[in-house]
């Protein structure tokens, strides 16, 4: 499990609160120069895992290591190397943006002389120039979120832990935040959790899926998609009566289920979604079944999306499976 370049290592990590197990026997690594996406429904144990890696809470059993430091006993030494953005940005409302960043920089041990340049760097990276003098309680949600990211970047960390860094941002800001993460991840280790699956596909080398505190899968987004071939779909647009179209398609061998609904902006045209077995040539058979009676306007094979892969994992593998 442990590779030489692993910066974050979790070995059989569990966290229990009383009789409730929040994280259960979790093992994975994040390497240097790697961005790993952390997926899971709400309450899956993502935040608790992040907190254990950041050193905010200690694992009940198992071992968390960051850059070789054991987070159970050496969390203070490791803290210098970790940039952590909790789910809720850890902001002091009464301070202004620059006073807040100065505090975090100094508390992380940045030398006094280096503080102005350090502040400048994260302010530019996180696009906070317009609000440097503003008190934090007056900031919009997007700015609060980006200030939370900015404090995590202070002090040249080697590891970034980001708990839903793009939550509450508008599309432009999401794009900018992704760029920051991508640039940082070229030379450092990044673990970030998100609900936006497209984000994971765009910037992550690997994805970890957890539910009920257990790791269900960790692999590249494309490998995860391949592993879930049964989620293949064929979608088409046909002009014809809906029940007959449905029956004709269901009679094609390899078609598992058919979902038909009228196109809202085009009367007479049906949008059809078929769940199909993963086998070659099915599109042709579907096309033949339709074209000899009705007009086929469009036919498209849908590759399995990460959404489907994710739902498949989360639904079909409940705890203990």
């Amino acid at each position: 499990m442990t590779s030489d370049s692993a910066v974050i290592t979790l070995e059989a990590v569990s966290k229990r609160y009383g009789s409730r197990t929040v994280v259960d026997d979790l093992s994975f690594t994040v390497d240097e120069g790697e961005i790993v996406g952390f997926l899971g429904p709400n309450g899956a144990g993502k935040t608790t895992t992040m907190r254990m890696i950041a050193g905010f809470t200690a694992a009940s059993t198992g071992r968390v290591r960051v850059a070789g430091y054991d987070m159970a006993t050496q969390n203070v030494e490791a803290a210098r190397l970790i940039g952590y953005q909790p789910e809720r940005p850890p902001l002091y409302d009464t301070l202004d943006v620059s006073a807040y960043l100065r505090f975090v920089a100094r508390a992380k041990g940045v030398r006094r002389a280096a503080v102005p340049a350090e502040l400048e760097r994260v302010i530019v990276a996180c696009h906070l120039e317009a609000v440097v003098r503003r008190e934090i309680f007056k900031l919009s949600k997007g700015y609060r979120q980006r200030l939370g990211l900015a404090q995590a970047l202070l002090g040249a960390p080697q590891v970034l832990l980001l708990d839903e860094p793009t939550a509450g941002l508008d599309p432009g800001q999401i794009q900018e935040t992704r760029e920051v993460i991508r640039a940082f991840g070229e030379h450092h280790a990044v673990l970030f959790s998100t609900h936006i699956l497209a984000e994971v596909t765009l910037i992550c080398r690997r994805v970890a899926i957890i539910n009920h505190g257990r790791l269900l899968a960790i692999d590249s987004p494309s490998a995860l998609r391949r592993a879930q071939e049964e989620t293949h779909r064929v979608s088409l647009q046909v002009s014809g009566p809906s029940t007959e179209v449905r029956d004709a398609l269901l009679s094609v061998k390899g078609v598992i289920a058919v979902d038909v609904h009228a196109m809202p902006d085009n009367a007479g045209l049906l949008a059809v979604d078929c769940r199909v077995e993963p086998r070659q040539g099915l599109e042709a058979a579907i096309a033949r079944a339709v074209t000899h009676r009705w007009d086929l306007h469009r036919l498209e094979r849908q590759e399995p999306t990460l959404e489907n892969v994710f739902l498949q994992y989360v639904k079909t593998r409940p705890d203990g499976a």
Partner: protein, 235 residues
């Protein structure tokens, strides 16, 4: 050291950028001013003794307002996740926050020096007695703040932290009164020893007794150690 200093400065900035520090200092000075006028001008005695006694009880009621936010606010605002993942040991964070609160205490104490002006203008007060009173007052405040800090590590809710602190401090202030109801010498001794007010009375009378100094410092040290230990344990 740099990190501890940064937390201390952040603490002070937080106090002065919120109304709390101004409120506490204002109420304290108004109260002290009133008691001073009453004690000196109505009785004609040029001593601070009675005023110090009143300042003590005023302090016990105001300390919870200063200390309630120390950790409770960090927990409820989510900033504890930043604070407790900084490259700082829990005791460093505790000490930094404690010194921030003690700074407020020292400032409000220093502001009462205004009262001494008429005292020295119109009378001949004993300077050493007054100094002893101030030393005792600051030590009393330090013990109270350390206890308040400990209670604020236990809850996310500032109001709960303040209420527990107020109850405990008032209990420790008045516990000496229980002496009169005890037959057992041991209990009388214990209640007397625990009494924040009785130790303070020594200072007001001009006595800086090692036992009294040690009492307040030991109470503060125990409370601060418990706080750091609790923060470590709750991980």
């Amino acid at each position: 050291m740099t990190g501890t200093l940064a937390v201390y400065q952040k603490e002070l900035a937080s106090y002065f950028r919120s109304p709390i520090a101004y409120y506490v200092v204002a109420v304290f000075l108004l109260g002290t001013g009133y008691f001073f006028l009453y004690n000196v001008f109505l009785t004609g005695e040029t001593t601070m003794a009675a005023t110090f006694q009143n300042m003590g009880i005023l302090l016990v009621t105001l300390v919870p307002v200063i200390s309630m936010r120390l950790f409770s606010a960090e927990f409820s605002a989510g900033t504890a996740e930043l604070l407790l993942t900084l490259p700082l040991e829990p005791w460093q964070i505790v000490v930094a926050k404690y010194l921030g609160a003690v700074t407020i205490l020292v400032l409000m104490t220093a502001a009462t020096v205004v009262d001494l002006v008429p005292l020295y203008l119109f009378g001949t007060p004993e300077t050493t007695t007054i100094l002893a009173g101030y030393v005792g007052f600051v030590l009393l405040g330090m013990a109270c703040l350390a206890l308040g800090l400990f209670f604020s590590t236990l809850t996310h809710n500032q109001i709960v932290a303040a209420l527990i602190t107020a109850a405990v401090l008032l209990g420790l202030w008045f516990v000496g009164h229980l002496q009169s109801f005890q037959r057992s010498d041991a209990l009388r001794g214990l209640f007397g020893y625990l009494s924040f007010a009785q130790h303070f009375t020594d200072f007001i009378q001009g006595l800086v007794r090692t036992e009294a100094v040690a009492f307040y410092l030991v109470v503060a040290a125990i409370a601060l150690t418990l706080s750091a230990g609790y923060l470590q344990w709750r991980r």
